[in-house]
């Protein structure tokens, strides 16, 4: 913090605007670009949440949330995702200590927890379909499968990405580029955890209460 201000002062004597954008680090800009992507994802999930909230009462005579949701499994997967958000943070901490083994270890733990979450979600979907609650049964279920499925798809893509990153780290070690990638994926993972908290609250908890 203090060092940044110091260099800002040095530039200040040259021109005022230079103090604001002294040597933009490309990796830093890429991280910010990813942050903007996350904000567009906020809007995407916003529209899906809006659709779900508006349509959740329209069950077309079919089963509603109270009959369908099995809260035991849902609460378990919530804590699994919460823990994985924490372990991805531990991975970033290990990276800043320069500990590649710990970094790869924590990323693997995070990926494993994410995979467990996906397995639980797929099992829930299979259970729902066996109960006769498919995506075409009612407007409520269409909105439900779209919202929860989109989140699950994000987590699945994150898993593929995380495994690719572990391989990259094994090959190249901790470089400025892999550092940025670890930072970005941990942001993505925290973001998915936040989205899930809202899915859990609005879809599941409010559905059964």
């Amino acid at each position: 913090m203090a060092e940044h201000n110091g260099s800002g002062h040095a530039y200040h004597t040259e021109s005022h605007s230079a103090a604001h954008d002294n040597h933009p680090d490309p990796e830093e800009l890429r991280t910010f670009g990813f942050w903007i992507y996350l904000m567009t994802d906020v809007i995407l999930f916003g529209t899906l949440f809006a659709a779900y909230i508006v349509l959740r009462g329209n069950t077309n005579g079919g089963p509603g949330p109270e009959e369908l949701f099995q809260m035991g499994g849902i609460i378990t997967s919530t804590f699994i995702l919460l823990t994985s958000s924490f372990t991805s943070g531990l991975a970033v901490l290990a990276m800043h200590k320069g500990n590649r083994q710990a970094l790869m270890g924590w990323l693997s733990v995070t990926a494993l927890l994410g995979a467990t979450f996906i397995v639980l979600e797929v099992r829930e979907f299979i259970h729902l379909v066996h109960e006769g609650a498919t995506i075409g049964t009612s407007a409520f279920l269409s909105a439900f499968f779209t919202l929860v499925g989109t989140h699950g798809l994000h987590v699945s893509l994150g898993l593929v990405w995380m495994i690719a990153l572990i391989i990259q780290l094994a090959k190249h070690g901790i470089t400025p580029v892999t550092k940025r990638k670890v930072n970005v994926i941990s942001l993505f993972w925290h973001f998915l955890d936040v989205i899930w908290i809202f899915v859990f609250t609005i879809v599941y908890l409010m559905g059964v209460s």
Binding site: F34, I53, V54, S85, N183, D193, V194, T201, I202, S209
Partner: protein, 109 residues
């Protein structure tokens, strides 16, 4: 040290400490257990339940932003915060706007 500082000036790149991560994790767990307990035991009903549940979720969002995404450690100009606010404004307009419109939808009801 200069090199170390220079590579992580953005909020997204700041890394916090084990203490802040553990604290954030504990807060998240507590903020998850409270709503679960409320719903499972049926302590609150109707609007009161919805308000408390949403408050817990929003608090957890704040916890994740501060303790895990290090939003408070960002330097000026705070582009991350500004884009986040823009995203949240659009989100609220979409969600609350849809709810408001559909609540007064006399065709569907």
């Amino acid at each position: 040290m200069t090199q170390h500082e220079g590579t992580n000036p953005q909020a997204a790149g700041l890394h916090g400490s084990l203490k802040s991560y553990t604290l954030g994790f504990l807060f998240s767990i507590v903020l998850t257990i409270i709503p679960v307990a409320i719903v499972m035991n049926g302590w609150l009903e109707g609007a009161a339940s919805s308000i408390v549940l949403m408050m817990a979720a929003v608090l957890q969002l704040v916890v994740q932003l501060i303790f895990f995404m290090h939003l408070r450690e960002e330097k000026k100009p705070r582009y991350n915060l500004v884009t986040l606010i823009l995203g949240l404004v659009i989100l609220l307009v979409i969600v609350l706007g849809s709810m408001w419109i559909m609540l007064y939808n006399t065709v569907a009801t």
